[in-house]
Symmetry: D2
């Protein structure tokens, strides 16, 4: 089940003072997500410094920009070859045997205060069978109890606030689902990326839970097909995977984002399953 996906974005900024930009818009490189070709073009034509950083080696580009109108354009052609498992056969991992690098995703983080929601999580989901289906139940609960309401949250909104106000956007849905999973003892992390046919088009935020021996993708908003998610980077929460971090004085003027499935129908055949998908 292989997919070819074209993604991209155009960002333009009014840069008023010398500003350091840190972009996370390039697609991640994993065994299951191959970047066949990509380009990152700045206008004016400035040299960017590319590196990978953080616990997940997220790809970043850093550039210092003097006052101007800056246009940033990224295009990528991606081949996804996800691992696909039968959800009913995927159990939760035990902290006794979990890979060490996964343990950090049990800790609370800025937007995912799992230390505050452990009792809540156990009360709602503690009685459920311990496996893929329990994470799915968490995501269903989040989707059914929140209203998708642009403008209802801001960059400081945390999972507990979202749980109380029962409204948010994709980032908030992911944060709440992550927090509840961690509260249950299931490692969970935030993923930023592109999503095929997302309406309205935008960057997307979703999540992964560690089950069995790998990370599985979930989108608690149900706004995307999980089989059409292209990863930019992962982290403990949105603080780790900001699309653009600015240090200086600049203003976003315009943003366009897209992602399309361009799989050759002859090669594919049939719809992809939408659960049990791993691309990490």
């Amino acid at each position: 089940m292989q997919k070819s996906i074209e993604v991209g974005c155009n960002l333009s900024y009014e840069v008023r003072q010398s500003t350091v930009f840190l972009f996370q818009i390039s697609c991640a490189l994993t065994p299951h997500q191959v970047v066949d070709s990509e380009s990152l073009i700045l206008n004016p034509n400035l040299a960017t410094e590319a590196f990978s950083a953080g616990i997940e080696a997220n790809r970043m580009h850093r550039v210092v920009v003097e006052p101007c109108e800056l246009n940033v354009s990224y295009r990528g052609n991606i081949t996804l070859t996800p691992e696909i498992d039968e959800p009913g056969e995927v159990n939760e991992a035990s902290t006794a045997h979990m890979p060490p690098e996964v343990l950090t995703y049990l800790n609370p983080s800025r937007y995912c205060e799992s230390d505050l929601l452990g009792r809540f999580a156990f009360e709602e989901f503690g009685h459920l069978y311990r496996g893929y289906s329990r994470v799915q139940a968490v995501c269903n609960w989040v989707c059914e109890h929140l209203d998708y309401t642009p403008g209802s949250t801001n960059s400081s909104t945390t999972a507990t606030a979202v749980l109380l106000q029962r409204a948010g956007v994709c980032r908030d849905y992911a944060h709440l689902a992550i927090t509840l999973c961690r509260g249950l003892g299931i490692p969970a992390r935030y993923v930023a990326g592109y999503a095929v046919n997302l309406q309205p088009p935008d960057f997307h935020g979703f999540m992964e839970a560690f089950l069995g021996d790998r990370w599985y993708l979930f989108d608690p908003t149900r706004l995307s097909l999980v089989s059409g998610l292209v990863r930019i980077g992962a982290g403990r929460d949105a603080a780790d995977v900001a699309i653009a971090t600015l240090n200086g004085d600049a203003r976003l003027l315009d943003q366009q984002v897209w992602a399309s499935d361009v799989t050759d129908p002859a090669a594919g055949g049939g719809a992809a399953p939408e659960s049990g998908i791993s691309t990490a």
Copy 2:
């Protein structure tokens, strides 16, 4: 300026059900902190799994314990050879040139909501000279505005709560200083460790700020000499460096912690400086 330090701890637990323990009590290994010898003994004599994990490769030991009374005893002989710089010559680093792996320490974290305190930090410290002395000013402010009050905070207390209530313990002092530094654009991280002659004896929490091209140690509580700090591990905040994480059902019965400077006076000579110290 070399120091020999003996550190150790005894922890005993009543384990009531099968419990997974994750200990972070072993001393870190860095070019400036050499572990000459160490031992970790469990009674009953259980095999532990040792590994390094997380962005800072903190050393951890994992063990699954069935119901019993568990005693854990760690001893280490450490040689510290800190890098010591003249504080007046240490400037802040620019985000344009900072090493990529440092950037994550500008992000807010669970107990350090730097996104909420940027304006506060700039108002109090924005006018100061940008260098080591500014971090020192932050630490002084924290020390002078907080009361060291055991019991005033708990494991969910964040830097903003500490700032409002003006009381806390070492962990809270460190969290607030870290948060204010990040608010100023200075990378800062939490360090857990042993502190020579700490009164009352306990594990200690302090911080590092990234200045120039390295991490410098600060203790906003002023309860320890910075030259006598022995690192266990570092992370974004205390969530990353818990001394013991338990999954199961166990209760701490007793805890003893110690750290002594056993430097041969013939070899040393004179007191160590207390600023401009790096051991990362």
Copy 3:
């Protein structure tokens, strides 16, 4: 359905500096709650200033005490003659016709942030029939979703925190039920009082909701019989009805509280109903 109830308390304090005490321990006077006799005795024998204050004219006693050991003893013999209505016939009042003095109990207050929980309340209870039974449903939800856990909260804990952590004591149960009612547009207020046979004996905190044209009593903890609740005072939340407010330096040494039903069985006959009860 008349009841005779004996209530009382003994409080003793170590007063270390001149301290102003404000006590709210005397029973309220309402058409349905008659104080047949009462006494308030201080040892040393100090004169207290008695007055009624606040929107509900709560009874208070003020006294200035110099350093000493202070004993305060209150005893009251109360006759309750509640209004008792058939719950099924009690509807919610409309804001268009509510008595003006009731409107303030729709506002958020310190411990009842109803502005934050309106959406939550509507999602959980918005579809229910609008009447006494809806408030009962709120109280049931609170009782079923919280664990009664002494020590889990403190004097700064608010309804939203209780909702997240799912634990609290009587005061917290009342705050959460009040907050959810206000979120639904139902005026609700906090009542402090004595409760017959409360185990363990203590002062009690419960609530009233305004329905139809009067205030009805509810105890979301289910620890007391509503027919055995004796009112001290009411207010927006516990901030308005503190048993003792101290300004100075004193420490509570001991506290005893009691309340017994001493109704002459010959006069009574049969158990009181436990719903539809008004004593305001």
Copy 4:
């Protein structure tokens, strides 16, 4: 020192469903604030129910409006004859002797969590002389540490949030000053009103502190002359004095507010003092 002030407002709403409006836009009646004439006109010409409610007997108008475009117009001609005292002679009142009805204004309220800021208040202002000048110092501190930033806060923002983010509007300035006063043991309350020559024209929020034996006016924003403040109502915080409370479905289309000093210069003479002013 008498002043004649003309105040007024026009409010228009698109009413989409039957909506209950509760307006607090009429000027308060006090010994020092006489309403010489006033009018409240609704278009369509609906009958309003006028009453006074709450602890401060704030004047309110209630009206039920069916779908339409509603225009509400209030005009008042006010004579202010403030009590004016020499600030240096006004001391703080003792809780031992304060009038009972004032005590409630020492309690924390929804937007003024004085229980959380007592230590902060004492640290910053505890050493100051206990009198009018201390409240002035609190107001000065608030003015100097906050940025007046429309849009930086919303209807759920509390004093602690304002203190951390160091930005707000008039309501937030008043909340923070009130909270700090209560933290110091000084009764303080919120006042909504009209302010002569306020720029940009709007309703205004300010505060009163109880000193000596009366309430004194303060405006921590310094945007108005205290001598030109016309009171609508007072309460524990903004939750008690909302200009308009809506229950139904309506949208504010337009709002105009004004207040002008029309004192006959022949009668007056000279500028009014701007401190030590009471109009309660």
